[in-house]
């Protein structure tokens, strides 16, 4: 109530004469207020009622008009609400299958289309979480981040729902439009066109990715038999084709063996990212990390990397040498010369090494630390038969041959595992074949083109002008999950099943077959791509049945696999058993090929201008995963950038070019031009630009559309050192800028204020093997006991805790991906990442130390530390964050009012605030659509706007284990529960469990001499222990 000054003065005057109104008063104004029963100030009866009724004094709005307005607004409201989604009827789950209990998860074994063996968790029929199949001998329970995030693609709202065909309507407005149709019409029409193509002798071109399935290969063969003018083209944007080609030349077979990474004392990776983006990373990381066990300190392997860019593998190396890829051949030959000079006898023919520089000359020539080179050669000589030199997929064939030769000279071929041969069922088409295809399309020799879940318009070389050639083909058909660049202007666009809705088999390694089975019936009116082809081969396509390919697959297995295994059970039981396990091994005799290469005299390369390296993106691959928001938002393991690609350039080259971060440069390779923003990348070789493909998609769902830059235009079949490395590039400044958002600062190395602060604050603690051997407690000497005036709470029962081994963690992001899926973490988009509002509950901090030219990299996953004396809990005004009796720092979402005090008071900065309801805020509610609702894990609350969230140590899994234990009348085991990040970690870096159980792995990890907690001196007693990293370097380097 407004209180007029004059009245107050008047009352002050009265005060002297009157008594206070009441004995108790809440405020001074109340004290001085006149009594409420004063008729003048607090009238009980308003004037209008007391006075005579005067029509002029009433509101001009009549009662009828008011009613009319009210009625109209009700009508508006009702009209506006007519389109609300029907939520459906709620019925009880009274007809459930006997094996299903409401609320219990059901698991299935299966495979993804890349051949990964997976285990799928479903709830009430919905696939929710994809992990590795623990029984698969290759994957052993781990998969890639794409596999982890693949469930989002199943529910992607941009998936096609019905077959579409080009409109035949005579109306101008409808001309060329795609209209919904039915499968029968599609099949009849296409079969007619296929038959006409055969009759006219014109080609039917099927364009596919790699054939990893033996049954799919059989299908293609059968299709060719039915339609003899068919030709199947296979391609990948990034592949191991050079490695295969080198093996074919070296050993007479293109199928190469797996490396026994866990047996290698010394690993030399040449421009190879075997821990990040090449090969089956889950298997390679596992083998590598096995030899990084602090409990087997004498078995630590040593990793050398020789590379131009800074790769994930390079980040994890003990010694890293910067070398432009043109000089890799010379490097290998120099090593060979040094090795031979040491007196090793050789049985195979060697190239002429007389013109090759020796170690000292090479080090001087390319400004490489001579000492490191000496260590490397000495290690190779001392570890013959126990070391491996591994060339990257992008290096040209002759470097691979030289590496094979060097491994043979050093007897390192003992580390080839011939029981696990990397198999390819059909070779990729060569660039020449693909170029000829576009030529045939242009000249009208191709009648039908079928895009078999592929995107040649985006992936093929730009100078082939595939999209233009496509317009000259009579019938264009795309078999896709969602529309892409190649489905533009097609005659038919046919929706295909997702991996989790399909049947198939895969054989990545010879003799190890994994099965794919559908765990959900197709969500939409789609068909499996193989079934579509099969139906086009049928006598009567109208008799299509959904199990057509399932039967085809079973028939092949019954005819070809079952007799080899020859089990006691009949085929039906054998088939059930195979589906249950998801994988079967057929014993095959390991045949070790012999060195067959006779002459090898390659020419050395020089360098001119800039060298451009085109890498596959760690998250979105070749662009296939670009519409997956989780993958787009996963920070790059090295630069921590999200949602964009960029030109990574060495700091010295950035200075030379006179550019800064986010300045746009034009890269020109023989007239092929691309504009990219600059990202200064410490540790890179000078005059080298590294960028990544997969971005700049134009025909895709709303998430992936126009993110980053399409750099596929830089590919060419001419002039490159290899398909992915080009020399002689020119760089021009454009004067433009483009923001690339990184979740970690770009300049931490150069900044005096933060230089090495992770060491000085003991956030990162590390040492060397030598230091540890001399003094096991060398990291503990600085520690002093911390006292507290408050008595500490005792945890009598369970106390959950985690340990992360920094020797094993390689920053692969699998934990981030698994956490996203398990905990319904929302996607926030590029703009919000720029504002620092990414929502991932676990982040991988990356620290540089040393110089920008030759930095050391330290990685540390940071999640909620569940501190015993959590500083976030003290400041929450509504007790929304508090402590459980088993040591969890928990969040009560319903109680949280969003003050963000907790996030401000958290020293680890692990709390995430929902500044928006990101599901409705992002891309016009893209992630709020019906299909996405099916993706959410029902065991975890979907948080709304204004609520704080953070890691819960997967409390839902703890509760599930507790319920099981209660049912069985026992205690929860110390190592029984696995968190999502722990389950996904291919390196086995994460340990979780009950720290009060002395026998548990976590209790032992906490007590380890190398164990430390971050910011220990704050005395907030975190429950995440880090095992300090030990670098396997020579003692004089320390």
């Amino acid at each position: 109530m407004l209180y007029k000054e004059t009245e107050r003065v008047k009352q002050m005057d009265n005060k002297n004469n009157t008594q206070p109104n009441a004995e108790f008063w809440r405020s001074v104004s109340q004290y001085y207020k006149e009594r409420s029963d004063s008729p003048e100030k607090s009238p009980e009866f308003p004037d209008s009622v007391k006075e005579e009724f005067e029509i002029e004094k009433l509101s001009p709005v009549s009662r009828r008009k008011f009613m009319a307005l009210l009625g109209a607004s009700s009508a508006f409201a009702m009209a506006a609400c007519t389109d609300y989604r029907d939520k459906g009827e709620i019925i009880s789950y009274n007809k459930k299958p006997e094996y299903a209990n409401y609320g219990d998860a059901i698991y299935y074994s299966s495979s993804l289309n890349d051949g990964s063996g997976i285990l799928i968790k479903t709830r009430e029929g919905r696939p929710l979480k994809v992990d590795g199949n623990p029984d698969h001998p290759v994957f052993q329970g781990k998969i890639s981040i794409q596999g982890q995030s693949s469930v989002m693609n199943l529910y992607d709202p941009s998936r096609l729902r019905n077959p579409m065909k080009k409109s035949e309507s005579p109306l101008i407005l409808n001309k060329g439009k795609m209209e919904k149709t039915d499968w029968e019409t599609v099949d009849t029409s296409i079969i007619n066109k296929l038959q006409k193509a055969v009759e006219s002798g014109k080609e039917i071109s099927i364009i596919s990715h790699s054939v990893l399935s033996p049954t799919q290969k059989k299908l293609f063969d059968d299709f060719i038999a039915k339609y003899p003018t068919t030709k199947v083209y296979k391609y990948e944007l990034h592949s191991d084709s050079y490695r295969r080609s080198a093996w074919a030349k070296s050993y007479g077979t293109s199928d190469y063996p797996t490396i026994k990474w866990n047996k290698a004392n010394i690993i030399v990776a040449l421009e190879s990212d075997f821990l990040g983006s090449e090969g089956i990373t889950a298997e390679q990381i596992r083998g590598f990390s096995e030899r990084r066990d602090v409990n087997k300190i004498d078995e630590f392997s040593r990793l050398y990397t020789v590379e131009a860019g800074m790769s994930l593998t390079g980040m994890n190396s003990d010694y890293r040498l910067r070398l432009s890829p043109e000089y890799q051949l010379e490097f290998v030959l120099m090593l060979m010369k040094e090795v031979l000079d040491s007196g090793i006898s050789v049985l195979i023919g060697l190239p002429n090494l007389s013109n090759i520089s020796n170690l000292k000359q090479f080090a001087e020539k390319y400004s490489i630390d001579e000492k490191k080179l000496k260590y490397l050669t000495q290690d190779l000589i001392n570890n013959q038969g126990n070391a491996i030199i591994y060339a990257g997929d992008k290096l040209p064939v002759y470097v691979h041959i030289a590496v094979n030769m060097l491994n043979a000279v050093l007897s390192n071929d003992l580390l080839y595992d011939y029981s696990k041969i990397n198999k390819l069922h059909a070779p990729h088409s060569t660039n020449k074949e693909l170029e000829e295809l576009t030529g045939k399309m242009n000249s009208g020799k191709v009648a039908v083109v079928v895009h078999f879940d592929s995107n040649p318009a985006y992936h093929f070389l730009s100078n082939w002008k595939y999209s233009e050639a496509l317009t000259k083909v009579g019938t264009k058909i795309s078999l896709l999950e969602a529309e892409n660049e190649s489905s533009l202007e097609n005659d038919f666009i046919l929706p295909i099943n997702h991996d989790l809705e399909s049947w198939n088999d895969f054989e990545l390694k010879a003799g190890i077959l994994s099965l794919q089975q559908p765990v959900i019936a197709p969500l939409y009116n789609s068909r499996q791509k193989e079934a579509i082809l099969l139906n086009w081969m049928a006598d009567d396509p109208k008799l299509y049945k959904h199990d057509i390919y399932q039967k085809y697959l079973m028939n092949r297995w019954e005819a070809e696999i079952y007799p080899i295994i020859n089990p006691m059970a009949n085929f039906a039981k054998f088939w059930q058993s195979c589906l249950h396990d998801g994988v079967i091994s057929i014993k095959q005799e390991a045949i070790e090929p012999t060195w067959s290469f006779e002459q090898f005299n390659p020419k050395l390369h020089g360098k001119s201008d800039f060298t451009v390296i085109l890498n596959k993106n760690y998250s979105i691959g070749d662009g296939k995963w670009a519409n997956n928001g989780w993958l787009q938002e996963t920070p790059h393991p090295v630069s921590k950038a999200a949602w964009d690609n960029y030109a990574a350039i060495a700091p010295a080259t950035v200075k030379k070019l006179g550019v800064e971060n986010n300045d746009v440069i034009e890269i020109d390779i023989d007239g092929r031009k691309v504009e990219l923003p600059v990202m200064e990348q410490p540790g890179m070789a000078e005059d080298v630009i590294v960028t990544e493909v997969g971005y700049g998609r134009t025909v895709i769902g709303d998430i992936g559309k126009d993110t980053g830059v399409n750099v596929n235009g830089l590919f060419s079949q001419y002039g490159g050192l290899s398909k992915w490395i080009y020399t002689g590039a020119k760089v021009n400044k454009t004067g433009k800028t483009y923001p690339v958002y990184s979740t970690q600062e770009h300049h931490a190395v150069d900044d005096d204020f933060v230089k090495d602060f992770h060491y000085s604050r003991k956030i990162i603690q590390e040492g060397t093997i030598e230091q540890y051997k001399k003094d096991k407690k060398f990291l503990k000497h600085h520690e002093h006991s911390i006292e507290s005036i408050n008595p500490l709470r005792k945890y009598e029962g369970r106390k959950w805790a985690m340990s992360i081994d920094l020797n094993k963690c390689i920053s692969c992001n699998n934990c981030v991906a698994a956490c996203n899926v398990e905990n319904n973490v929302p996607v926030v988009g590029k703009e919000q990442v720029g504002n620092g509002r990414e929502m991932q509950w676990i982040r991988l901090d990356r620290y540089y130390s040393g110089t920008p030219e030759d930095p050391k990299v330290s990685i540390q996953p940071i999640l909620c530390q569940h501190c015993d004396l959590a500083p976030c809990e003290n400041v929450c005004p509504v007790v929304a964050t508090n402590h459980s009796e088993d040591g969890l720092n928990q969040m009560v979402y319903n109680r949280c009012v969003g003050t963000r005090y907790c996030a401000n008071n958290c020293p680890y900065k692990v709390r995430r605030f929902n500044f928006f309801d990101f599901r409705s805020y992002m891309f016009d509610g893209y992630y709020e659509q019906e299909s996405i609702a099916l993706q959410h894990n029902p065991e975890v609350t979907v948080r709304s706007r204004g609520v704080m969230e953070k890691c819960t140590f997967c409390v839902q899994r703890l509760m599930e284990a507790r319920q099981e234990a209660i049912k069985e009348g026992r205690e929860v085991g110390g190592d029984e529960v696995k968190t999502a990040c722990q389950q996904a970690c291919p390196a086995g870096a994460i340990t979780f469990g009950n720290s009060n159980d002395a026998e548990s792995a976590i209790a032992k990890a906490i007590e380890h001499e190398l164990g430390y907690t971050v910011l220990r001196d704050l005395n907030i007693r975190p429950n995440v222990t880090y095992i300090a990293k030990l670098r396997n370097i020579y003692s004089e380097e320390v």
Binding site: K65, A75, F76, D83, R126, G141, E964
Partner: protein
């Protein structure tokens, strides 16, 4: 009084027509006010059906990996 009644009737009619037209426009939803609903037609509602031939894997007690 007659005039007032006539005016009111007109107002109600006007409001009713306006409401009807606006209601029709909103139902047609040309500006995708309810974007998420607009993308899924009622005859295309997603149905979750467990595939009859899939073989489940019993992992009782091992649910956490």
């Amino acid at each position: 009084m007659e005039k007032t009644r006539e005016n009111n009737r007109r107002n109600i009619l006007k409001a009713g027509v306006f409401a009807g037209v606006l209601g029709s426009i909103l139902s047609f939803n040309p500006v995708k006010i309810f974007a998420s609903n607009a993308q899924i037609k009622k005859d295309e509602k997603i149905k979750v059906i467990v595939h009859p031939d899939a073989v489940q894997r019993n992992r009782k007690g091992k649910a956490n990996g």
